[in-house]
């Protein structure tokens, strides 16, 4: 399957919905299969690779931060980038620039760049398939 390119459009903010987890699972599955993946993060989804996400303790259950090992979506994005390097796939992740500015989320993990919805249109035209995962 290598050589194929799939495009995903994500809209959900992190930490809110199982759709984010499923979307990242799909993207990871594709890169592990050696496929190139385009990701357009729109609206709240620009927070997924936000590099200032911070793990926390769980005082209710008595766990310190290190014990709780709270999962952070930015780390999942980094892992996807690493899996792509291992499989020879390319991941091009674009955050909607206006959405980033609105939310003050300019800092993102390595491999993420700014763009516009026009990039999604271009990807939809040129990739082998596109999946939009809407919020509702």
């Amino acid at each position: 399957m290598s050589g194929k390119t799939l495009t995903f459009c994500l809209m959900d903010a992190p930490f809110e919905n199982a759709r984010t987890t499923t979307a990242l699972r799909l993207i990871d599955t594709a890169v592990r299969q050696g496929m190139n993946v385009n990701v357009f993060a729109y609206e709240g989804a620009v927070g997924i690779p936000f590099s200032k996400q911070s793990a926390h303790a769980n005082s209710v259950h008595g766990f310190e931060k290190e014990e709780w090992n709270h999962p952070l979506p930015k780390d999942w994005v980094t892992e996807i980038m690493n899996h792509a390097k291992a499989s020879g796939a390319k991941v091009d992740w674009i955050n909607c620039g206006l959405c980033v500015d609105e939310r003050g989320m300019n800092e993102a993990v390595e491999g993420v760049r700014r763009g516009t919805p026009g990039d999604l249109v271009n990807w939809a035209d040129t990739s082998d398939n596109t999946l939009v995962i809407p919020t509702k």
Partner: protein, 108 residues
């Protein structure tokens, strides 16, 4: 004839318009298309045998390939042996492979 991949992530007991998505799968199949309905997240809940609802079984009988995400099933404690007849557990790789093959893909 086209290939369709419909991804259902919602529980029909929580969201009424899931039934429309099932109808879409049925209608596309009735018009001669190849149709896969892939259940994920709470969308797998109706895949558990339920004597009061045979919707998914009817879709499978009509020729729709009905698959349920293995991890979503495990998370909800649904064993493979308790799935509706005609529904099979599957990995997300199926979604990626069908997308790469050009299936028209919709998420609900």
């Amino acid at each position: 004839m086209a290939n369709y991949l419909l991804i259902e992530s919602r529980d029909p007991f929580e969201v009424n318009d899931v039934a429309y998505f099932y109808d879409l799968a049925s209608g596309l199949k009735a018009r001669g298309n190849e149709v896969t309905l892939f259940l994920v997240q709470n969308g797998v809940l109706p895949a558990r045998k339920n004597p009061s609802d045979d919707t998914l079984a009817k879709l499978a009988t009509a020729g729709v390939q009905v698959l349920a995400d293995n991890l979503s099933l495990q998370e909800r404690g649904i064993q493979g042996s308790s799935l509706v007849n005609g529904v099979a557990a599957a990995e997300l790789d199926v979604v990626i492979e069908k997308m790469a093959d050009g299936a028209k893909t919709l998420w609900h």
